[in-house]
Subunit: 113 residues, 2 copies
DNA sequence: GCGTCATATCATTACTCACTGATATATTAT
DNA sequence: ATAATATATCAGTGAGTAATGATATGACGC
């Protein structure tokens, strides 16, 4: 019995971790940040993020599969947009938390240097 | 001028990414989840998360340096606690977002398999 | 002091993943 | 059909990091 409960909790933790990892990359955050200002097509994202086009496409594929962005074809363009206002809300929450812990996060050298 | 503004935005993105990475690990999420129920000493965290003691200590060091948890000495025990209710709020928001995108996140095999 | 419990540190190992460069697919126009 | 534009795919490479095992530090009681 306790095992079943434990398994369920662990699964949810894995999901949370995977979702957080979706946000835990500067390139994807740059893409999401740009899309928070409104829908954009791929080459616009490439310009604004200054990332390579294949790189942007790879990240978009990940974000799309994860359901964090949605896309619509517009002629030969493909326009991407944030899939839910909850995502914008989450990014705002992180900024609010960052106001409290920015210094510590900056200083933390245990992981990453 | 535009360069300076760009630099500032990039720096913030790096901070956000680093903070997200703090949450983007099953072990750290398990620790934070356990602490959401109230303060705990290390060996209690070891029991509940079923992680090794050095592993828990390593992650606690990271979480402590990042300012996500705080600690108080209690005799030969050290009691850890969530440092701000904003952290609990953020975890709840993620769960709310997960209700929308759980399937997609689960299915996303671009990164991680 | 000595032994024990509680926690922290550190080097090593193994794994994951972001980026690049080349190429493929799709759409539109001539 | 061909060319040009827009986007996607994929293998290979390199960097970062989580977990382990051994060890070190610290606090308490005898």
């Amino acid at each position: 019995m306790t095992q079943i409960v434990t398994d369920r909790k662990t699964a949810t933790i894995e999901q949370r971790a995977k979702l957080f990892r979706g946000f835990a990359d500067p390139s994807r955050l740059a893409i999401l940040g740009a899309l928070c200002g409104g829908p954009l097509v791929v080459h616009e994202l490439v310009e604004r993020t200054e990332l390579s086009q294949p790189n942007v496409s790879n990240h978009l594929r990940c974000l799309l599969d994860c359901g964090l962005v949605a896309s619509d074809r517009d002629g030969r363009f493909i326009r991407y947009r944030i899939s839910s206002p909850r995502i914008t809300a989450l990014l705002n929450d992180v900024d609010a938390l960052l106001e409290l812990v920015a210094e510590g996060v900056e200083a933390c050298g245990n992981y990453r240097e």
